[in-house]
């Protein structure tokens, strides 16, 4: 009998045997994941019938998938491709473990290293079988989905391109992960290390750049990374998030490198192009997928493969079973984990930098010891290796120091003036003037201004750019500063530093963009930045908020598209301008003491005259008049569009204060009641007690404080017979006074008197707050002003001396740039007139009262909530 001799080819056998056994498990996981996330969901989507509506939103039939889509490879959700990514990464790691864990066992190494196959062929054979399984387990389900698409919809270039994209992209991610896992296993002694180091290295770029982001945010004054850049002049009040460092450098991450694009080609519905609400195409026209990242990562995988093979060839067999044998990885892993803990402490702990750093290093040391002990499992060896920790600590501290010292001048570096094409900048003054933000009069007769001061974009004139540049330079020259405690009384108010958000975006002539974001600024610096209000482009922006032509144009669009208002329609401007220029507008004057509410029944021409005068006066103001007025405001003018049936349109206030226009005939959730028809002839001026005013509450309105410098406006008011209401002599019976600093310690939310959290513009109201007990009946139950209650809840200095009260009234302001110091005063009006809260600048407060307040506050402590105020 002839012997059955083998004709073995060890390499071929290695590959073939690798295509079976435990390697099938991760491959099946991959395949199952893709069949579920791609093939099954595609079938569900493609067999689903979508309702079809006519213009009146009546169902008129169904739309088949063929009519709707060009293809469906994944559901139109970001999550589907994200899940697929998770499956791919997990399966690839498992494949790496399955194919190469043999290298960490003495028993298997004895066998495999003594076999008649070279190490490189053994490595290649084991590797290639795993790679084949991974790619096949991705490609086959996607090909099935491709065929499903062919059956349901038919072929298209986009379908083929998308299928190739996903096969290539997921295969590249899978192979990169698998290759790194294989290389790591080749260089360590145990599977535990293999998994630990693989996980760490795969996420190393993300972790490292997250650490740098922490340091950048903490130390680098002006850091733009990870910040939202808001624009106040944009119709949609859009904000652009500047990438975080981890996102910016995600191209270095083997897993996250194409995360944003991964969901873009899941399905293609041509009708959705240009629709920013649906994420598939992000409103962009179809563009072919970019295969380059996948190809680059495949090349990277090939490089890692060769490195892994080299390590495998040189590997000392005796390390298997022993932990901690790879000194390089042993150093990297505790470093990256420890460094992460260190930077988290620096960034997050609300303590001084030094204390944060020390705590961070202690935690780093604990992590270092834990990992070292786990890796070495020998106390003597551990002690012997402890000398490395100071090196780790020194490197971490050195990196932190680089950021703390301004990142090689990054903090103070500005572009060359002559290279600047345009600048966007955050103004810090009265944002209502140049944004579409509006005041709202609430049901409690309170006035609020839900503003968010973003940047004014596109300063292009040489003068404007230079002025902003100089202000920026001045800001930068002050260097990184620490916020002053919100209730901290300091000797020198010029040293007060305020949390805020000041942003600059330079667009350079070479097309580059430089962004900076400052979260703290000196109060005086902020006051200096009020200069921005008076730049050429800011004035143009303010003028736009009084631009009738703009309103007419917007109105035309509305009237022409009642049933199909364009998606990008500028609702904010339309509402703002509508309050001034709409056919029916309610014009009201509030006296400075809030005691009277004067309805001005103006003709359209009279209203235009008043608005024009107002515009001229506002544009003619200087910084002193607008932000540091010498005298209290005389009155306030309030414009609000009467939307009840006006021009066939109605508005519904939505959460952010903007309004949604409903076309005539369209369903509206709430129909405001028709106003009662006035009886008898309409008087030009109707005066009422403010408590009886029925204002069109909850509608955003345009509210302007009128000061003595606004001569044009005052002149028109005089001509209308309203002059007497510009002079107030309130009957005050009591004043409660608190320093701004003390008031700030009453609660943690200190912005109630401010327009927003960027500006220090005190802009309170003329409407008094009524004590519930002062009136009877339910009509007043809703009139509790939510603001100013802190005076009821905390001890404050008070006085009732009549002459002093009049002095205080004369010193008080309702609109003033506070620099976060000075006094809040709540006046109690006589005859149950309610309360009125005003601001008194430090230098306007009579010395005797100031001293009394200081004495009172030094002897009446407050359970302080001292801390740092936070900007948005």
């Amino acid at each position: 009998m002839t012997s059955q001799k083998s004709s073995a080819n060890p390499f071929i056998y290695t590959v073939k045997s690798g295509l079976t056994g435990s390697n099938l498990v991760p491959a099946l996981l991959n395949a199952a994941g893709f069949l579920l996330l791609s093939s099954l969901l595609a079938i569900i989507e493609l067999t689903r019938e979508t309702m079809k509506y006519d213009e009146s939103q009546t169902i008129i039939g169904t739309i088949s998938a063929k009519d709707q889509y060009k293809y469906v490879l994944f559901s139109m959700s970001d999550m589907t491709t994200l899940f697929a990514l998770v499956v791919v990464v997990v399966a690839a790691i498992f494949m790496g473990i399955s194919a190469f864990r043999f290298i960490t066992s003495k028993k298997t190494v004895n066998v495999y290293y003594s076999l008649g196959i070279t190490r490189d062929k053994l490595y290649f054979g084991r590797y290639i079988s795993g790679a084949i399984l991974l790619v096949a387990s991705i490609a086959i389900p996607l090909l099935i989905t491709f065929i499903i698409n062919l059956i349901f919809i038919g072929g298209s270039a986009q379908l083929t391109a998308a299928m190739l994209y996903y096969i290539l992209m997921f295969a590249s991610i899978s192979l990169t992960t698998y290759t790194i896992t294989a290389a790591i296993f080749s260089s360590v002694g145990t599977s535990f290390e293999g998994v630990l180091f693989t996980g760490t290295l795969l996420f190393l770029p993300t972790i490292f750049f997250t650490c740098l982001q922490f340091l950048m945010s903490k130390f680098v004054y002006g850091n733009p990374y990870g910040e939202k850049f808001n624009y106040t002049t944009n119709p949609d009040l859009y904000s652009v998030a500047a990438e975080k460092l981890s996102t910016r450098f995600s191209f270095l991450s083997p897993i996250m490198h194409n995360l944003n694009e991964l969901s873009m080609y899941g399905a293609y519905d041509p009708k959705l192009e240009g629709n920013p609400v649906l994420a598939m195409t992000e409103g962009q026209p179809y563009t072919a997928p970019n295969y380059l990242p996948a190809i680059i990562w495949l090349i990277f995988s090939a490089a890692v493969f060769f490195i892994g093979m080299l390590i495998f060839q040189k590997r000392k067999a005796e390390i298997c079973g022993f932990i901690g044998t790879n000194k390089y990885l042993n150093s990297i892993v505790p470093f990256i984990i420890g460094f992460f803990a260190f930077t988290v402490c620096l960034y997050k702990l609300p303590l001084s930098t030094v204390v944060c750093g020390v705590i961070g290093l202690i935690i780093y040391f604990i992590i270092y010891c834990a990992i070292e002990l786990a890796l070495k499992r020998n106390f003597k060896l551990f002690l012997r290796g402890l000398f490395k920790f100071p090196i780790h600590a020194a490197i971490s501290v050195a990196i932190a120091a680089i950021f703390a010292t301004g990142l090689f001048g990054y903090s103070s570096r500005l572009p060359d003036l002559e290279n600047i094409q345009s600048v966007d900048v955050t103004p810090v003054g009265n944002s209502v003037l140049y944004s579409t933000n509006q005041y709202r009069i609430g049901s409690g007769m309170s006035v609020s201004c839900a503003t968010l001061t973003g940047m004014i974009d596109n300063y292009t004139s040489e003068g404007d750019i230079k002025a902003i540049y100089e202000l920026h330079k001045k800001l930068v020259d002050k260097g990184a500063i620490k916020a002053t405690g919100k209730s901290e009384l300091i000797e020198d108010d010029s040293q007060r530093n305020i949390p805020t958000t000041i942003q600059f975006v330079y667009k350079l002539k070479n097309g580059k963009e430089i962004l900076r974001c400052y979260k703290i600024a000196n109060a005086q610096m902020l006051a200096d930045m009020l200069e921005i209000d008076f730049l050429e482009h800011t004035k143009e922006t303010i003028e736009l908020n009084f631009d009738k032509a703009k309103y007419d144009k917007l109105n035309e669009i509305i009237m022409a598209n009642k049933n199909d208002i364009p998606e990008n329609f500028d609702h904010s401007s339309y509402n703002l301008l509508g309050n001034l220029f709409a056919e029916k507008v309610s014009t009201t004057l509030y006296t400075a003491d809030g005691a009277k509410c004067v309805t001005l029944n103006l003709s359209y021409e009279e209203r235009m005259q008043l608005i024009d005068a107002l515009k001229k006066d506002i544009l003619a103001q200087n910084v002193q008049q607008r932000y540091f007025p010498d005298a209290p405001a005389l009155c306030a003018l309030y414009f609000v569009q009467d939307r009840t049936g006006a021009e066939g349109l109605e508005s519904e206030v939505i959460a952010d204060g903007s309004a949604v226009i409903h076309a005539e005939g369209a369903t509206s959730p709430e129909q405001p009641e028709e106003p009662e028809e006035p009886e008898g002839p309409i008087e030009k001026i109707e005066v009422s007690d403010n408590s009886t005013v029925i204002s069109p509450i909850e509608f955003s309105s345009n509210l302007y404080s009128i000061t003595s410098d606004m001569v044009n406006t005052l002149s028109v008011l005089k001509s209308l017979g309203a002059e007497e209401y510009t002079v107030s002599k309130p009957k005050i019976v009591k004043a409660q006074i608190a320093t701004v600093e003390r008031y700030n310690s009453f609660n943690s939310w200190t912005y109630e008197y401010y327009q927003d959290r960027t500006s220090l513009f005190f802009s309170y109201n003329f409407m008094p707050y009524f004590d519930l007990s002062s009136k009877d009946g339910s009509a007043y139950a809703m009139r509790t002003n939510p603001y100013g209650l802190e005076f009821d809840n905390h001890e404050t200095f008070s006085l009732a001396d009549e002459s002093t009260l009049q002095t205080l009234w004369a010193a008080s302001r309702n609109n003033y740039y506070t620099k976060m110091t000075g006094y809040y005063v709540r006046f109690t009006l006589a005859d149950k007139g309610g309360y009125l809260t005003m601001y008194i600048p430090k230098d306007k407060m009579p010395a005797s009262v100031a001293q009394s307040v200081a004495e009172f506050e030094s002897t009446h402590s407050v359970a302080s909530t001292d801390g740092i105020m936070y900007a948005y």
Binding site: S3, K5, S6, S7, S17, N110, Y113, G116, I117, A317
Partner: protein
Amino acid sequence: MIEVCSVTKKFGDFTAIQDLSLSVPKGAIYGLVGYNGAGKTTLLKTVSGVYKPEGGEVKINGENIFDNAKQKAKMFYVPDDLYFQPYASMDKMAHFYNGYYANFDMEEFKKLASVFGLNTTKRINGFSKGMQRQAEIVLAMSTNPEIILLDESFDGLDPQKRAIIKNLLNEYMAEREVSIIISSHNLHELEDLCDHVGLINGKNIALDGSVADLSKDKAKFRLLFDHPVTKEDFVDVKLHTFTEDGRLITIFADGNVDEVKTKLEAMKPLLLERRNLTLEEIFLDEMEGLDYDFSKIFS
């Protein structure tokens, strides 16, 4: 032909073997003896190409063995710590080795398995330790290697199975010109098997040579006299040991065996019987005066 040339193998700071040299010619069974931890396994793993030495080299048929697929394909290393694939039967392992060894003989595999009475379809992890060793030796011999490295392969085997393996190895040697190194911490296990022996002593080979050479000029005889004799009566013979068991005397003498025999015959014994030297006796003789704890290998 196995040549170990000045091999040094270190594990970190620890030197397991240092500047060690030995050679095993074709057709030789080399017994590598040493107490546990003496370096036998390290040496075998280095010879098999599992370990890469820090110094020196191991040559098989004149070629460095490390990562040498051609030479390794002719070699089978049976480690002390056996490996079988999870849930594998002998058949499955045979398929595995069949994939890597061009000379794997499936027929011989079946035949050898039946010699030991092993069921090739049963899971090996259900086998006893001794059966697993037998299975591995069956697999090893089925690959028809030119070099077999056996690390403590007799450990755990009962005398009968040990005898079978010895016979198999001897038969295998008779058929082919192979080189075998078999290590053991127990000298008695290698008795009647090795024609070459080496004693590894910590980092180096303390004694190395063929059994014939080592036995040369050493003679062991059993004698019976009809009259009382004492050690002093053997004046012409260079006695190494003299043992009396009643009237039966056993001597171990140095010198030419024939010359010693002639001298003993002149003493007119009733019985003169030449006996083979045991490895123990050879080692004891060779290592006399040296600091070596033989109790560890003579147990």
